[in-house]
Subunit: 358 residues, 4 copies
């Protein structure tokens, strides 16, 4: 099992490399009768597109999704939904020494050791491009969540030292700047910072924050399929993620129980928590509050500075990566975090249907 | 699927509640021919035992493991290994209002919503006691890793504001203090801090650090079963974990690519990385360096202060939890982090055998 | 994965050998709130017991099941149900040359090649005794099916040349003869035949027929998890089964479409089929008719005649198996067929809940 | 989980309906480094093509397979292999009353009950056309088996009352007649029989026999993933199969142990069985002999006679199916049986690699 499937009931399998015929996903286990068309899925894919300007790779993929199966007369049929995105702008193939030299910060070395060789074109299977297939599949999960009034939203909350101020959170701002930041001031600072980095042929880390609202209590299974455990796998499966936090995350180390415990109260006849340090998950099961997730992305490993590395002949060499690469990963990855969250919730929501017979 | 199994080839299923007949694990897919006996497994279980003194719950479980199947004449047979630990000190049953009142910071509410009721004795299935079964199963994984020269070690690196100094790391110290801290000065400070907290009827968060050495390059599958993704699920499946970090973890947000990328070099004829910001995983695949993991544990939610909460009748009530509870989770959880790491590595090591035919 | 688990949502894992501490099963994914106790499960286990008299192995196992977890105050909690049956009558251990000699018709040779050695005591993991754990787990599945008005019944329909006459089918007869045959005349003939075989130190094949009534239409998934495909795996996983048939089974080879197609009609306002050649499954999905299954069991391979075989040193030897062995497998296996059917239906019933959101 | 995946390590997911954009398969877990190209796969697909003449449906699909991912420079990369076959001859869409009327012998009714509606074009997901995707995926499995010297061959052994004589088995004959029969005399009789049936607007059942040679001993896991159990699922997952037999199959019911047990002997220094009643599988594990499988296919349910049935409004109606349909399923299904066998063997061969560490 090359690990290309995720989920138990709502099961997503992705395939494809950066430079083959295309990439795609098969979504198995989607309930029948949901409205679904290519336009709906495309909306999400478009959010993953290179943002334009100087800050993201100008490769002009159209990333047009096609539904190849599983939808009939505008509705899901309950059978597998095959989604495909053709690779339209395959470079003609001058990869220089990338076939034989291991890029620092990339999976090249691991692939070569593991499989004996690798598809070195554009990162092959570990290209960020693989995530487009996840976004397409995640859109199907979103359709399920919509039926339950669940929304999932992710944005960039930090780029290097530039951190968004929650008090300035403005959802409209997300479309206005190329960084998916909800804070115009932070976005302006991030822009300046990135320009500086690009002059220095360098890149920066970033943080993505994700919130799921409307998730009912009772989602997630008690032990290994805890909601946070499944989110942990889903979010860490996105390349470049080095930390995942739920609720207060890393800050809990210094917290006291008396402040970290969220009191339950009754508001308008409903059970609520008056705080949400837990990020909506207690004992692996949703508690009815918002699910709060943060993911830390490492800096883009492809930088234009000369780097020390080694090649397949075990010679030490210097490598200068060419081409164009985003200097920061978060802005294009935010929608991927959103989608991995959506898939996880959809799967556990369906499993939850089987928890009781009544 | 109540989510009680983890792993694809090396597959662990746990069962049991705090106060039933016992708890246990079934390990399926362990290769045949490995030496295994109860003493070996017991060594790990003993590390999970209440540390004694004032700092951990004095429930005197013996936690003696029995091997019920899968081992013949001292060797694993390739068939399922059933491990059982009897519950010997079941309290006679005065749980007061815990049957009807939801403890803040616990899964009680989620369980009640999900299943309609719950086994309220001692936390039921979401009791920390369930982890004893994981430790027993993890010991089997350790036996596999030993054959490859892989070691996994975890310790407490922070308790509240008290942080171990890596420069004072002393492995021998781990057995000397009840906190599994490798730094005697930090342990002394932690002791003082915990005493203070206990007077205040409070608890604190903590951090566990885990390292796996000797892991060959090439472990982990490219997409959803990335080594870090699978570790993410495994570590988050431990109750009370709110953040998981690999390598530099959360610090990557502020890092630059030029400093975060680990250069490859040749040392003694072997490929090495001269730094290890990546924590031994690139693109989801091990790179031959040490695997570095950190887990942030929230403060013990069972505190003796009176807390605001709600009961099954949706009445607001005040709850004062009785009994004895550890004021910090990390010291007893360190070995659990170690074991979840070991299971994950063992599974992906076995899967790796199928990556090539030669 | 040593293949000791079956099912997707309702998932059963069995463990144990003939001569270890015991055998057992973990049932994960059982919905919460079902009434369950040891007495209920025991009813099924008792049906698997050696029938007594001369026709089955006189090993006096009590086969008393214990529920170790997952049930609280008489109801399933939604967490894993651990079931254990202790091995009480372990023979003291003179297995003669069975440790080194491969019994014809048994898995001994395969085990030795596969694992390098095997637990040779009483058949080890491939002992018929393993099926007791399945029966215990299957009883839990039966509890689920009961809630839907589904019943599953199996009986012996043939022993060697002696075939039950459907026109003489008498359910009460099943308890009266030691062969689980529903036809008294056939049972009498079978008794005579088996006596003759035992004098000749020989054994015979047999056939088990199973019917599931009350199964609603719509159970089973379209492609690889067709109801008949999943039943195929479940029934063939019982040792000694060499053929599985659904509905008319093997007879369809000679049938014509015009006679094999079952017409749909309306009776009392409901859709019915006026015949049931399909055995209740069309295109892998239940059609609302009775599910009809037949399993062909080979003759007991342990016979007392001297047989030609080979030992671990690759020497040709003659083997005379000692001890006592049933001369026919069907009578004790009927309840196992019933239970594997029940598990399969329970799993697919739960999965079916996720087919639509409304 | 809509059940569209099969296998644990070598995992195949199929997608697609008769009349969408196409059908396809994703093969995950194929080892790296195997030579693979479209021509190789096409060879197998061509065997599934309508045989021509009067005996199979004249729909002129080209069934040209495309490899969309997972192969680089002629070799598998270890990442998912996406295979697609476009649907080129979609009928323009007069399905008459098939949208609302349930064809006897088909899954229509089950689909409607299960999902609320169905893609009624050409059988939708339960069309025989789905098996083309399996054949493409199975070809990849065949590549793996080749490395071990394993061959899998299937043919039609009976059409209605016409049974091939094993003594006249002639492999060359398989390509000469349109029925995939290895016996020219039987093929001639089958032709006469089918002509007669077609005049009567009727169809017939058939039997496919499959043999796998070169399978080493030790393949298959002891309990639920027995080789025969996994074959049982795989073969029953092919539409229209109503019986699966291993070795002597159904004949074992009448057999005696003394004749059914295959003696082990040493020939040329190797362990062999002098007979093969077991069909190469003992206790669920391969024994080094040929694997022998038989599948019974029901008559094509689409016949041109008027049939009694019911429509979605629960009205009794008469249905006359139009179009062209094969009067017998076996000839085109033989290669599918072969391929499901190959996938099963490939998966269990890879799992077998993890049975021991040495």
């Amino acid at each position: 099992m090359a690990g290309s499937s995720i989920g138990t009931v709502f099961k997503v399998t992705t395939w494809g490399e950066s430079h083959g015929a295309g990439i795609g996903a098969v979504v198995d286990g989607c309930p029948a009768g949901l409205p679904l068309d290519e336009e709906y899925i495309q909306t999400y894919l478009d959010r993953r597109k290179p943002g334009g300007r100087d800050f993201s790779t100008p490769r002009k993929e159209e990333d047009k999704v096609k539904i190849l199966s599983g939808v009939f007369e505008g509705k899901t049929t309950g059978t597998p939904i095959s989604l495909m995105i053709e690779n339209t702008s395959q470079r003609s193939g001058d990869y220089g020494n990338l076939a034989t030299t291991w890029r620092p910060g990339h999976a090249d070395y691991g692939f070569d050791v593991k499989y004996g060789f690798r598809d070195y074109r554009g990162g092959g299977r570990s290209s960020g491009r693989e995530t487009a297939a996840r976004v397409a599949a995640g859109a199907v999960a979103m359709r399920i969540l919509e039926q339950y009034g669940i929304e999932v939203h992710a944005w960039v909350s930090a780029i290097g030292p530039v951190v968004c101020d929650p008090d300035r959170f403005d959802a409209d701002e997300l479309q206005r700047n190329p960084f998916s930041m909800p804070d115009a001031q932070a976005a302006a600072k991030a822009e300046a910072y990135l320009k500086e980095l690009m002059l220095e042929k360098d890149s920066t880390g970033s943080e993505v924050t994700c919130i799921a609202t409307g998730v009912p209590a009772g989602i997630g299974e008690p032990v290994f399929d805890k909601l946070d455990a499944r989110l942990g796998q889903a979010i860490f499966s996105i390349g470049a993620v080095k930390a995942v936090e739920i609720g207060d995350g890393k800050a809990v180390v210094r917290a006291r129980g008396s402040e970290n415990n969220d009191p339950f109260r009754i508001r308008n006849g409903k059970v609520v928590k008056t705080t949400n340090h837990a990020g909506g998950i207690l004992g692996g099961i949703s508690d009815g509050s918002d699910i709060l997730i943060r993911a830390s992305f490492k800096p883009t490993p492809s930088i234009f500075q000369e780097q020390q590395t080694v090649n397949r002949d075990h010679e030490e060499v210097d490598l200068a990566i060419k081409g164009r690469h985003d200097p920061v990963i978060g802005p294009r990855a935010a929608v991927v975090v959103e989608m991995m969250t959506a898939m996880t919730l959809a799967d556990l929501l369906l499993i939850r249907m089987t928890n009781r017979l009544d």
